[in-house]
């Protein structure tokens, strides 16, 4: 997401002096379970806000419903905690008519991949200049352990006690399949450096940056990412100067695959399941049309509008 408000910011004398600190972005203490991956993601986002010096009043976090969607309450920016699955339409309305605002969307896997799946597909196609985070823990947590569309097959829940019946949706592959997808990345909550670098790349992307954050739920799905946490060999980092490069992870991960995020075919291939968890930027294309720019219209003064209305009414004159 390009920082469109830099000029606005520097034009305001008060803000020129002001340096935003982490504390400026902190609001109510988070009420997620101890060990929940959302805490780490919140910390990463706060670091990003501080590093980018985003004025809190120019920043809006929009969410749906679910554990992940409590996110805006824990940040001292503007926020809209909406309804289940519908964060993206709200964000679309905000960004479409107030493009100078920094808009972030935080969704869970139920939000994004199930009840709001239609909005997900179309928001990717609109390609507004926003950051859309999918906090994917593979379970409905807030409603107490139901199978989600990203629950791995066989994982039991209260609604599918003999194990998830269907193979999961692959959010990365699905997003890469949408026309006008412009930024698709995956990271994990347990790798703060990678998470942060990915958030940063997403923020600096011009267009909708879709980031799936693999997020641990210690309560209901501790098994699904623990394996990868304990065994870095299961993880493959996608590395490229145009993607994310995190030197401090070099020692930990021996599987590194150079992947040019400009290569959509390769990205789609890498998104297919083959036992590896791939983290990094799958695809990035800065040339995709951005909706709020395509739909930008010149503002009219009130007197101009009155004159134009008069002319329009004259077309219907008796």
């Amino acid at each position: 997401m390009t920082d469109l408000s830099c000029s606005l910011l520097s034009a305001a004398p008060d803000d020129e002096e002001r340096e935003w600190t982490l504390a400026d972005y902190e609001a109510a203490a988070a009420r997620w379970c101890p060990g929940c991956g959302d805490h780490a993601i919140l910390t990463g986002v706060e670091r990003l806000l501080e590093a980018e010096q985003l004025p809190p009043e120019q920043t809006v976090f929009v969410s749906g419903i679910g554990c992940a969607s409590r996110f805006p309450h824990y940040l001292h920016t503007y926020g809209f905690h909406g309804i289940h699955g519908r964060a993206l339409p709200i964000a679309t309305g905000i960004k479409l008519r107030r493009p100078e605002l920094h808009v972030f969307v935080v969704m869970g896997d139920g939000d994004c991949c199930s009840i709001g799946a239609g909005h997900w597909i179309h928001a990717v196609r609109y390609n507004l200049d926003i950051v859309a985070l999918l906090l994917d823990n593979g379970v409905y947590g807030l409603t107490k352990n139901q199978t989600s569309p990203t629950s791995p097959k066989g994982i039991p829940s209260n609604t599918q006690p003999r194990g998830a019946i269907l193979p999961p949706i692959n959010p990365i592959a699905a997003t890469l399949g949408v026309t006008n997808a412009s930024f698709v990345a995956q990271t994990g909550d347990w790798l703060p450096a990678h998470l942060y670098a990915t958030l940063q790349a997403a923020f600096h992307h011009h267009g909708l940056a879709f980031v799936r954050v693999l997020q641990r739920c210690p309560q209901y799905t501790p098994a699904i990412y623990d394996v990868a946490m304990r065994d870095p060999d299961l993880v493959e980092l996608l590395v490229h100067p145009n993607g994310v490069v995190v030197p401090e992870l070099d020692r930990l991960f021996k599987h590194k695959r150079p992947h040019d995020p400009a290569d959509l075919d390769a990205a789609r291939h890498l998104a297919e399941p083959d036992g590896k968890i791939r983290l990094g930027v799958f695809y990035r294309n800065e040339t995709c049309p951005v909706y709020e720019e395509t739909r930008a219209v010149a503002a009219r003064s009130a007197s101009e509008k009155v004159a134009l209305l008069g002319a329009e009414l004259d077309r219907y004159a008796v």
């Binding site: 001292h76 926020g79 905690h81 309804i83 339409p89 309305g93 909005h119 179309h122 219209v297 009414l313």
Partner: protein, 639 residues
């Protein structure tokens, strides 16, 4: 029409006359015309232009579309009838009337449809395409014969017209031009100004090649000449030149332009009949005004986008119809809970479910008021005319902003597609919303700083330094902090409701049409205004002590209703929605399901309000309403 002209016998009508014939000119205070064809033959366009030119010439006009739900249903079937009814008068015309007095029918099957619906006056003049009587296909000839036999039960006066033959002299495919020929016929019969019609045709085809305009005008003039050569009657509905500038448009155009005049900057919508045409008009012109039409991926997203833009301080609305209103319900609740201003226009159609997509009904009233789970106080208003469709958009926007809530505007298919002239609005800068105030929020101001007396609170929008908060659909306190304690929820509910009470006290009591006391008070809302008042006028002429009342605000209800009701021996709503008739099997006073406004009025006034409702998929006719009034007069009513 009481004096029927004698139509030309078919034989002489078909042959060009050698000399100008003697003509009867019937001067009438009003006349109702229908043009019906198969879909795709353009009867609607013909009717629309005829209506517009009549308005431009100074006649009162009301038009109603006759429209099947499909785009190209099979030809020559009664259920495929497509067209327009145009009622013109010397004074203002407020509804579509009872029966058509003159019909142009492109085939006998679509005519049959109108006949079976009792849409035609017994002595209606019918100009009918005569090619079917002698068609090569024996089935078609048989169908014609059968239809004529059925139509023979009435005393219609037929004028066979060789439309196909006449049009073939100009174009290869008369299906694409018969409508302009028919328009020429009507133009001659009613002495319409050909130059004005040509202007409207030019406007209609402004995006097409000039040759198309030329062909249409040739056909128009050919129709005029044919009528001049063959018909022995003309109809004169005297006109009154208005000294006020007037405009003529349908309700959806009025909503669209009215939305712009209200200062709207975004319309987010999803295609749905009969609301969509409003967004067509907007899409055409909105960007010139700095506005955007966003066609969303679904109804839910449409209201979500409007809500997002409004949260961000912009003025936004969404437009839909019944099924879409149902889908938007959760977001409407969210807007009410977060106190985000939002205007939702519902152009009602027949329901439930997909119902009657192209036809009028007033079935969404209770869904609009009570559709949201939980207590979700908001404003519902209903325009009654095309002019009100225009003006109510500014009202809706202002009320939504002043109260920080949702305003639902209930239009309907009758208003949406009907055309009526009205005084040209005079938009002013005061009609527009103020641009969002991005000044820093004063120290200590909370995002829901409710005035405990009035329930309202100042609005804070993103971009305002010091105002940061997270709007939430969860129960919250003045800081928008989530709170589940009894006092937080009680207080939030109370504040959101109080705004409505304050607002209700600011509304003017409604004005009774007719005497303030009497035997029967008819109460209506929405597009039925004209038909109800016409029927009540006729009843009063008959000596019945009937008055009427028409509500614009349905939630909250306008003040003083109980008091007004008590001055009448009986109160009855007339609505286009379903209710049990009192005599229906198993229906008792206890279990009778009543009209939607009747439900509401009974609950709010404790008056025993009766109802007479119908769901015919067409506007109510004044004659029907008059009959209902006769049938409903309380016992012992004075005459």
């Amino acid at each position: 029409m009481t004096t029927a002209p004698s139509p030309s016998p078919p034989a002489s009508a078909a042959a060009p006359s050698e000399a100008r014939r003697e003509r009867t000119v019937l001067s009438l205070p009003e006349h109702t015309v229908e043009i019906v064809s198969d879909p795709g033959e353009g009867a609607q366009k013909c009717g629309q232009i005829f209506g517009r030119v009549s308005a431009k010439m100074g006649n009162g006009v009301w038009t109603v579309e006759i429209i099947p739900a499909e785009i190209q249903p099979p030809a020559r079937q009664p259920s495929s009838a497509s067209g327009n009814r145009v009622r013109i008068g010397t004074g203002p015309v407020t509804n579509w009337g009872d029966h058509a007095n003159l019909v142009v029918a492109f085939n006998e099957q679509v005519l049959l449809h109108r006949h079976r619906l009792d849409a035609l006056a017994k002595d209606a003049i019918i100009l009918i395409e005569n090619m079917w009587a002698t068609h090569d296909d024996p089935d078609i000839r048989q169908a014609w014969t059968d239809a004529m036999e059925e139509l023979g039960s009435a005393s219609y006066q037929f004028v066979p017209v060789p439309m196909e033959e006449e049009c073939l002299a100009v174009i290869d495919n008369p299906r694409r031009g018969k409508n302009m020929f028919a328009l020429g016929l009507l133009a001659w019969i009613y002495s319409r100004d050909l130059e004005k019609i040509k202007g409207l045709i030019a406007q209609e085809f402004r995006k097409k090649a000039e040759a198309i305009y030329d062909t249409n005008v040739t056909l128009l003039e050919r129709g005029w000449r044919w009528a001049e050569d063959h018909l022995d009657f003309r109809i004169d509905v005297p006109r009154v030149e208005s000294n006020r500038p007037m405009v003529v448009m349908n309700g959806n155009q009025a909503v669209a332009i009215g939305g712009i005049a209200a200062g709207m900057e975004l319309c987010a919508m999803y295609p749905i009949t009969p609301a969509t045409s409003a967004s067509h008009h907007l899409s055409d012109i909105f960007e010139r005004f700095g506005g955007v039409v966003h066609q969303a991926e679904d109804e839910i997203a449409a209201v979500g986008v409007a809500l997002g833009a409004s949260f961000a301080g912009k003025v936004a609305f969404t437009i839909t119809s019944g099924p879409g209103l149902a889908l938007k319900t959760e977001f409407i609740g969210l807007a009410i809970m977060t106190e985000t201003p939002l205007v939702v226009v519902d152009v009602q159609r027949g329901g439930p479910s997909t119902g009657l997509p192209t036809k009028v009904e007033q079935g969404d009233l209770l869904a609009a008021i009570f559709g949201q789970p939980g207590d979700a106080p908001h404003v519902v208003l209903a325009p009654a005319t095309m002019e009100e469709c225009f003006l109510c958009m500014t009202t809706a926007r202002r009320v939504a902003e002043a109260l920080r809530t949702v305003v639902i505007v209930l239009s309907d298919a009758n208003l949406a597609t009907g055309v009526q002239p009205f005084p040209r609005p005079d938009p002013s800068e005061q009609w527009f919303a103020q641009p969002p105030d991005l000044a820093p929020v004063r120290e200590g101001l909370r995002p829901y700083d409710w005035d405990p007396q009035r329930g309202v609170s100042p609005r804070v929008v993103p971009g305002q330094p010091g105002g940061m908060f997270t709007a939430t659909g969860l129960s919250h306190d003045e800081w928008s902090h989530v709170g589940y304690t009894p006092d937080v929820h009680e207080r939030g509910c109370r504040m959101r409701s109080r705004k409505l009470a304050v607002f209700q006290q600011m509304l003017k009591p409604p004005v009774v049409n007719g005497e303030p006391t009497g035997d029967l008070l008819v109460v209506g809302w929405g597009s039925t205004l004209g038909a109800i008042e016409e029927a009540v006028g006729r009843a009063r002429q008959e000596g019945l002590a009937v008055s009427s009342l028409h509500l614009r605000f349905l939630s909250p209800l306008e003040p003083g209703l109980a008091e007004i009701f008590r001055r009448f021996r009986k109160v009855m709503t007339i609505e286009i929605n379903y209710s049990d008739d009192p005599g229906d099997p198993f229906v008792t006073a206890e279990n009778r399901r009543r009209g939607q406004l009747a439900w509401l009025l009974r609950a709010q006034t404790l008056v025993d309000v009766d109802c007479w409702t119908r769901v015919p998929g067409e506007p109510l006719r004044p004659g029907q309403i008059l009959q209902a009034i006769h049938d409903s007069m309380p016992q012992g009513a004075s005459r």
